[in-house]
C-alpha cells in the first residue's frame, strides 16, 4: 500500500491516491452515496463467507477508489460500520449483516470489481449497477447438481475413513438426501441450527433405515459420521481462526462460537438417530 504525504487541509488523515495529486473534496451527498456503495460491497462479502480483513480492505478501497481520502472500517460479526472521509467532511453509517452461506464466485466478482474501482475505471452509477448484477448472479451449479456433488463428496470421505463400497453407497444416498433437506429448510427460512439438527437427523435416519432393512455391514458408525460431513462448518471455522490471528478477536470468537454450536447441533441430530438404531458408539 502506498501512502503519500498527508494533504495540507487535513494533516491527521493519511491520504491514498495513485497519482499523489490533491483531490478536490467531495460534497456530503456524494460521500453518502459512496458510503452506501462501500457498505453494500462489504455486506455481500460477509454474507457469502469472506473473512474480516477482506471485508475491511474492500469497504475502504471502494471509498478511496471513488474519491475519498480515507475510510475507517469497523467489522463486527453481524454489522459493518464505516466512516469515509474527504477533506474536512465525513460520513458514517452502520449496515446490519445477516448470516448466509458460502459463495466463492461472488467473493471473486467483488474482488475483481474492487480492483477495477481502485484503477479508477468505474464511476458511482457503474459500481451500483455492477453490485446489483453481482448480487443477482445465479449460482453456477443448480441444486440437483449440488445435491449429487455433495453426496459424492461425503461418500468419498467414507472411502478415506477406510469404508467399503456398500458404506460408500449408503453414505452417498444419505448425504444427498440430507443436502436436499438442508436446501428445503434454508428456503423456508428455518433457524440455521434447527436446520442442521434436522438434516443430521435425516442423514442418520437414512443410514438407520438402510441398516435395519439390509444389515449392510458393521461399518454403520462410519456411514453415520461420513453422511453428516456436509454440515460441518468448515468456512466459518477457518474464518474464525484467521480473524483471531489477524486481530479481529471479537469477530473470531463469535464465529468460533457459531461453529461450535453447529458441531453440537450435528452431534445432537446424530445422537437421536443412533438411539433409533440402538448403537452407542461410532
Amino acid at each position: 500500500m502506498s501512502v503519500s504525504q498527508p494533504p495540507q487541509t487535513k494533516p491527521i488523515q493519511a491520504k491514498r491516491s495513485q497519482t499523489g495529486a490533491a483531490k478536490s473534496p467531495l460534497d456530503r451527498e456524494t460521500l453518502a452515496e459512496i458510503v452506501d456503495l462501500a457498505l453494500r460491497a462489504g455486506q455481500l462479502l460477509m454474507e457469502n463467507g469472506a473473512e474480516s480483513q477482506r471485508v475491511e480492505v474492500t469497504v475502504r478501497s471502494v471509498g478511496t477508489g471513488l474519491g475519498c481520502d480515507w475510510g475507517d472500517v469497523l467489522v463486527s460479526h453481524n454489522a459493518i460500520v464505516v466512516s469515509h472521509i474527504s477533506g474536512r467532511e465525513f460520513r458514517t453509517k452502520i449496515r446490519r449483516v445477516s448470516r448466509g452461506g458460502v459463495n466463492m464466485s461472488l467473493i471473486e466478482q467483488i474482488s475483481h470489481l474492487t480492483h477495477r474501482i481502485e484503477e479508477g475505471k468505474f464511476d458511482r452509477a457503474q459500481v451500483r449497477a455492477e453490485l446489483e448484477r453481482i448480487s443477482n448472479y445465479p449460482r453456477h451449479y443448480n441444486r440437483w447438481l449440488t445435491v449429487v456433488a455433495v453426496g459424492l463428496a461425503c461418500a468419498a470421505f467414507s472411502r478415506l475413513f477406510s469404508g467399503d463400497w456398500l458404506t460408500f453407497g449408503v453414505t452417498l444416498i444419505s448425504a444427498a438426501v440430507a443436502m436436499f433437506v438442508r436446501q428445503e429448510l434454508t428456503l423456508r427460512n428455518f433457524n440455521s441450527l434447527l436446520g442442521v439438527v434436522a438434516s443430521a437427523l435425516v442423514a442418520g435416519s437414512m443410514v438407520a433405515v438402510i441398516y435395519l432393512l439390509t444389515e449392510f455391514s458393521r461399518q454403520v458408525g462410519l456411514a453415520l459420521a461420513a453422511s453428516v460431513l456436509l454440515l460441518v462448518p468448515g468456512v466459518p471455522f477457518i474464518n474464525a481462526v484467521e480473524d483471531l490471528i489477524k486481530g479481529y478477536t471479537v469477530v473470531g470468537l463469535a464465529r468460533g462460537a457459531t461453529s461450535a454450536l453447529i458441531i453440537l447441533a450435528i452431534a445432537l441430530g446424530l445422537l437421536i438417530a443412533m438411539q433409533l438404531i440402538g448403537i452407542s458408539r461410532l
Partner: protein, 158 residues
C-alpha cells in the same frame, strides 16, 4: 518406504472427489473446479506421506499440508486471476478430521448416559480425542492463514 503406493493413489483420488464436491457446494467459478480438486488431492497426499513415513505426527503434518496448499492456492490464484481462497478452502476440506470429531462428540454425550459409573477408557478416549481434534483443526486453519500473513503485510494505520 512402508506405504502402499496403490492405496495412497486411491485415497488421493477420493480426497480430490471430496474437494470437488465441496467446491460445487461453495459455488466456485467453473474454470477453477479442477484446480480445486487438485488442491484437495495434493493436501491429502502430502499429509498421508508425511504421516505414513513417520516423519511427523498427524497434527504437524496437517499444518504443513495446509500451508503447502495455501501457497499453491496463491500460485493458482495468480494463474486464474481469482482470490487464493477459492482453491484453499475446498483444498483443505479433505484434511478435516470429521470421523474423529464426531466420535469424540458422541463419546462426550455418552459420558452423561451413565454418570454414576463412568468408564475410565471412555473418559481417556474423550480427553485424548478432543485434544487431538482441536489440534488438527487448529493446525489446518492456522496453515491456511500463513501465506496471507507472510505476503500481505500492511504498515500500521495512523
Amino acid at each position: 518406504m512402508s506405504i502402499a503406493v496403490g492405496l495412497l493413489l486411491e485415497q488421493t483420488l477420493w480426497a480430490g472427489v471430496a474437494a470437488l464436491g465441496f467446491a460445487v457446494l461453495f459455488n466456485v467459478p467453473v474454470r477453477t473446479l479442477l484446480a480445486c480438486a487438485l488442491s484437495g488431492a495434493i493436501a491429502y497426499a502430502v499429509r498421508t506421506i508425511l504421516v505414513e513415513t513417520n516423519l511427523l505426527t498427524v497434527e504437524a503434518a496437517t499444518l504443513l499440508a495446509a500451508t503447502a496448499v495455501s501457497f499453491l492456492g496463491v500460485i493458482f490464484g495468480r494463474r486464474w486471476r481469482v482470490p487464493a481462497l477459492i482453491f484453499v478452502v475446498p483444498g483443505v476440506i479433505p484434511l478435516v478430521p470429521g470421523a474423529l470429531a464426531f466420535r469424540t462428540m458422541i463419546d462426550i454425550l455418552m459420558l452423561t448416559a451413565n454418570p454414576v459409573n463412568v468408564s475410565d477408557t471412555l473418559l481417556a478416549a474423550v480427553a485424548v480425542n478432543s485434544i487431538k481434534t482441536l489440534l488438527i483443526v487448529g493446525a489446518l486453519a492456522g496453515g491456511v492463514a500463513v501465506p496471507s500473513l507472510l505476503l500481505r503485510r500492511h504498515r500500521p494505520m495512523t
